[in-house]
């Protein structure tokens, strides 16, 4: 967070500034290497000449050896140095790209909310991920490529002139012609290309139109009419594509032709000179080689020019796009963030949108420290805007808003963060554990406040208190109960859970009986997988667990013997087919896959597999495919995975198989499996299922609540609550918190602010996704726990929770229409009365 604030914003830097700011030592090394390389490139030419003229012609073996040696050395050096150039170029380029990505991202995060209102997330993503890459690559080659190639061109050209000035001038005369011709041809190519793109789009539109209107075409029999329209476009496209390609080849051909003209010039003029004895044969050979080698650097410079153009365009586009300034300094310079008094004074505050619509109109109020104010009003009255101005997300244009007698617009973000906490209407939850999200607001304090002043990390007790206050406590406990334990990691805990299992059965067994499917030796368990129904036990031997089991020879033999193999593969095929049919095209979101035996990543395998099954009978499927299908069947549990029903004959076959399995595995592998037993912990099941010694039949919240409540009672009695809670706090909430419900997300957001315990608390419809009970509890807490400690401004969406606020501000069209105590305002029969009782 501590950054030089005086430096220029990243978006105003030029592309070349990244070249200059890159590692100078590397750049210098690069230059040196380039000079040596260029020198090493010319040496072989000179050696070529000397080998022919001096060694071969004069038949001197020792000179031949020396010159060849030098030749080889020069080739080696230039090869090695060329590689080194690439290495350094890559290092520079990737460093520059990483620097750009960081600087731009750090900049983007500080941009005002208003900026994001107009910005698509996809645009930001592609800017950072794709578009900057071209610019980074360019920075890597910005020095190496032009310098190397221009030097090479100069060196070879100079060498040519040194060999024979007239011949050099003649052979180089083609380049001005290339420079004139090629750009003209290229502009024709571009024009044709533009037309091609336009017509292609027209073609796509036409196809799209026909597909959407196919009903009409069939009904009216207008095949010929539509064909005529389409064919005409195709014909135009054909013509322009021909033109486009001809011009493209024209560019290539012209370039190649002109380049191959120079050897011709050299032969005819150089040959004449050689015959007339003015030019040694060796020199002519060297001349030809040098001339030929001009082509590569020439081409590379042209390519470089092209990528320079591309890089500048995309770089400029990205930077222009993000060229906005943060509205507030991130952190103060030369002082720690203020520890402000918590009174709020607002005077004539106004806020307009960019298009001039006035959302707040001369709002004034003052709220002493520790007092609570509810803001209510008609929709669109500016309630939320007020909150957003107070917490600096919006920058108000006129009037004053002061915290502890300091103007909010002059404060830095750090000052606000240190003194204020906000729960927004639809809080965002980041990927990570519950605990990480709970600490999210607190940890931010550490990054702003100087280390010694940094608030101590919240203790476990504080965290638990916050979970309780926000009402997410039971949910977290539930996550903890859904965890798996390994007996060897928690020997003591598993022992205690077995004891709770006994207590649960005797105390709650009756009341929750129809909600739970108990593990019963003689019954088919519809809420357990097929595998669990066969094995009815667990193992930690890797070759007998997970998806390895479907490859395990012993287990496969057993399935054949029990007559289960064929029907299970068939079941697996049906499960795979249905799951792919329903979920195949959906994004990998947790909510879609809750009731699927296949996980999102499995689909990569099962989608092509089901395609193959469409083309061939199941009997012809490969062994590998059959293993996969068996695996799908073993994971299938009919109570949860409703896309397929378990055929009754298979059910009884599995039940018979269970007995057979136990018998044979006890003989052949006596120590591998531990069978379900009321006195033994089952590591493959969750803690809750271990307590229940069974599985819940319904995932409906009411059923879950009923069972959780009973389990929690027992956990409290056994003093295990905190342990389970700690496990629950390690629950991964998923991307965007999508493994949490809307209510849970909101509770977690409330919990993280309660944990931060700010002096000023802004609740912007913070409880809107909660049920009545939770809302009432949080309201109670605000009134009893936070009154006097924190100043609270609560934007209220419901009127039944505001009665006990110190002040109520009723907003209407951007103004505060009424301000006072609840009873006082109701008696006045003004706006609040109208809101509560409706228009009379």
């Amino acid at each position: 967070m501590k950054k030089k604030t005086s430096s220029r914003p990243v978006t105003e830097r030029s592309l070349f500034s990244w070249v200059l700011s890159s590692n100078l030592k590397l750049q210098m090394a690069l230059l040196l290497i380039i000079i040596v390389t260029v020198f090493a490139r010319v040496v072989p030419l000179e050696m070529q000449k000397k080998i022919i003229n001096e060694a071969i012609f004069l038949k001197k073996i020792d000179l031949l050896k020396i010159y060849c040696g030098i030749y080889l050395a020069a080739v080696l050096i230039s090869t090695i140095f060329k590689y080194l150039t690439n290495v350094i170029q890559t290092l520079l380029g990737q460093q520059a790209l990483a620097d750009m990505r960081r600087a731009v991202y750090h900049h983007i995060l500080t941009l005002p909310i208003n900026f994001y209102r107009k910005t698509q997330p996809g645009m930001v993503v592609s800017a950072l991920v794709t578009e900057l890459a071209a610019a980074g690559d360019f920075v890597g080659m910005a020095i190496a490529i032009p310098v190397t190639n221009i030097l090479t061109l100069l060196a070879f050209g100079g060498y040519l002139f040194w060999l024979h000035p007239v011949l050099a001038a003649v052979s180089l005369s083609i380049y001005p012609i290339v420079l004139i011709l090629i750009p003209r041809l290229q502009s024709r190519v571009n024009q044709a290309n533009k037309k091609r793109v336009d017509i292609t789009r027209e073609l796509s539109d036409k196809i799209g139109e026909s597909v959407s209107g196919i009903h009409e075409i069939h009904t009216n029999g207008t095949y010929a009419i539509e064909n005529r329209k389409y064919d005409a476009i195709v014909e135009r496209l054909r013509k322009i594509r021909v033109t486009w390609n001809l011009y493209r080849f024209g560019v290539k051909t012209t370039n190649n032709f002109l380049n191959s003209l120079s050897p011709f010039l050299i032969f005819i003029i150089g040959g004449f000179l050689a015959i007339s004895g003015e030019l040694a044969l060796g020199a002519l050979v060297a001349f030809l080689s040098a001339q030929e080698k001009l082509y590569d650097p020439w081409k590379e410079i042209l390519d470089f020019y092209q990528s320079y153009q591309d890089a500048t365009v995309s770089y400029k586009r990205v930077m222009d796009y993000f060229n906005a300034a943060p509205e507030h300094l991130l952190a103060p310079e030369g002082r720690p963030p203020y520890d402000l008094d918590a009174d709020i004074e607002v005077k004539d505050l106004s806020f307009y949108t960019e298009s001039g619509i006035r959302l707040l109109d001369q709002v004034s109020f003052s709220l002493p420290a520790g007092k609570h104010m509810a803001v209510v009003g008609f929709s669109g009255s500016g309630k939320s805007t007020l909150a957003l101005c107070l917490n600096q997300l919006y920058r108000y244009q006129s009037g004053q808003a002061m915290i502890g007698h300091r103007e909010i617009s002059t404060l830095t973000k750090a000052d606000i963060i240190r003194n204020m906490g906000t729960v927004s209407q639809s809080p965002f939850i980041f990927e990570g554990t519950i605990e990480e999200n709970l600490l999210y607001s607190c940890l931010a304090l550490e990054t702003f406040v100087d280390s010694e002043a940094a608030a101590a990390r919240p203790s476990l007790d504080d965290m638990i208190a916050a979970l309780q206050q926000s009402g997410i406590f039971v949910d977290v406990l539930r996550f903890g109960l859904d965890r798996h334990l390994r007996h060897e990691d928690h020997p003591d805990l598993t022992e205690r859970i077995i004891r709770i299992r006994g207590a649960f059965k005797s105390e709650f067994g009756e009341t929750v009986h129809d909600l739970i499917e108990f593990f019963d030796d003689g019954a088919y368990l519809y809420h357990s997988t097929v595998l669990d129904n066969i094995v009815f036990g667990t193992t930690d031997h890797p070759e007998f667990s997970g998806s390895n089991l479907s490859r395990n020879a012993y287990f496969r033999d057993y399935l054949e013997t029990a007559g289960l193999m064929r029907p299970l593969v068939r079941l697996g095929a049906e499960v795979a087919r249905q799951t792919v049919d329903i979920l195949g095209d959906l994004p990998h979101e947790a909510i879609f896959f809750e009731q699927s035996p296949l996980k999102p990543d499995d689909l990569e395998i099962y989608i092509p597999l089901t395609e193959r099954l469409k083309k061939q009978p199941l009997e012809d499927a490969s062994d590998e495919d059959r293993e996969r299908l068996l695996d799908a069947a073993l994971r299938f549990s009919p109570g949860r995975h409703k896309m397929v029903a378990l055929p009754a004959p298979l059910e009884s076959l599995i039940l018979e198989g269970r007995i057979l399995f136990r018998k044979s595995v006890s003989q052949d592998h006596p120590d591998v499996f531990s069978f379900y037993n009321a006195g033994r912990y089952i590591p493959s099941e969750t803690i809750l299922n271990n307590i229940l010694f069974g599985k819940m039949k319904s995932r409906h919240p009411k059923a879950q609540e009923k069972i959780s409540q009973s389990a929690i009672q027992l956990l409290i009695r056994d003093d295990l609550l905190e342990t389970i809670l700690k496990l629950g706090m390690q629950f991964e909430v998923g991307a965007n918190g999508d493994r949490l419900s809307g209510g849970q997300r909101q509770k977690l957001a409330i919990a993280r602010i309660f944990l931060k315990a700010p002096k000023i608390l802004i609740m912007d419809e913070a409880t809107s996704a909660l049920d009545n009970k939770s809302q009432a509890r949080i309201q109670n807490l605000l009134e009893n726990h936070w009154r006097g400690r924190s100043t609270v401004i609560s934007i209220a969406h419901r009127l039944d929770i505001i009665k006990n606020y110190d002040y109520i501000a009723v907003m209407k069209s951007g103004k505060i229409g009424e301000l006072g105590g609840y009873d006082e305002l109701i008696e006045k029969k003004g706006l609040l009365y109208e809101l509560v009782h409706g228009k009379s």
């Binding site: 029907p567 329903i582 095209d585 909510i591 879609f592 319904s698 419900s741 049920d771 009545n772």
Partner: protein, 174 residues
């Protein structure tokens, strides 16, 4: 081995397929394309209630819609301690579409009069599915519009037949 196990029809009598059939007959989903309907049918869950259980509770924002499959449920409005039974619902009745669109507290309670089973669709799941099939949204809006309109037409016709006039009309004008 039992030969009947080879019959693929056996797998098809599953809950998902039944859900699909049932949802297709609900006015709100009748016009949806199969792809969207499949996902909805898959995301539904079947719940059973004992007589006396609350399917919905007045004042709660449960965020779900119900399709009754069997049994009877009683719609009840409570006001200051007075309970008023309004009507009964039975198999194939679809209740609570509004809760699929937005969070609102229930204005009524629905209590199982007999043992009842129903199909439950939760708003969060419904929204997630809708997000995958944006083309479906106008169809849903259209279905709701037609439903409200038809309901009010019926109400007006009844009032006009009985020559009774109440001032609480105009829901279709919202």
């Amino acid at each position: 081995m039992n030969s009947s196990m080879e019959n693929p029809e056996l797998f098809h009598a599953c809950e998902y397929k039944q859900n699909l059939e049932l949802l297709r007959q609900v006015y709100l989903f009748a016009k949806l394309p199969m792809e969207a309907l499949k996902v909805l049918a898959f995301l539904c869950s079947k719940e059973t209630y004992r007589a006396g259980d609350f399917l919905l509770r007045q004042g709660e924002a449960d965020g779900q819609a119900l399709l009754l499959l069997s049994g009877t449920a009683r719609l009840v409005r409570e006001n200051g301690g007075n309970e008023r039974s309004l009507r009964n619902y039975g198999a194939h009745d679809f209740i609570g579409a509004m809760s699929l669109f937005g969070k609102r507290n229930r204005l009524y309670s629905l209590i199982a009069a007999t043992d009842t089973t129903c199909l439950v669709l939760e708003r969060e799941k419904f929204f997630k599915a809708l997000a995958q099939f944006p083309a479906v949204v106008p169809l849903i809006v259209q279905a709701i519009t037609e439903r409200i309109h038809a309901w009010e037409e019926k109400l007006l016709a009844r009032q006009e037949d009985h020559r009774e006039h109440q001032d609480i009309v105009g829901i279709s004008l919202i």
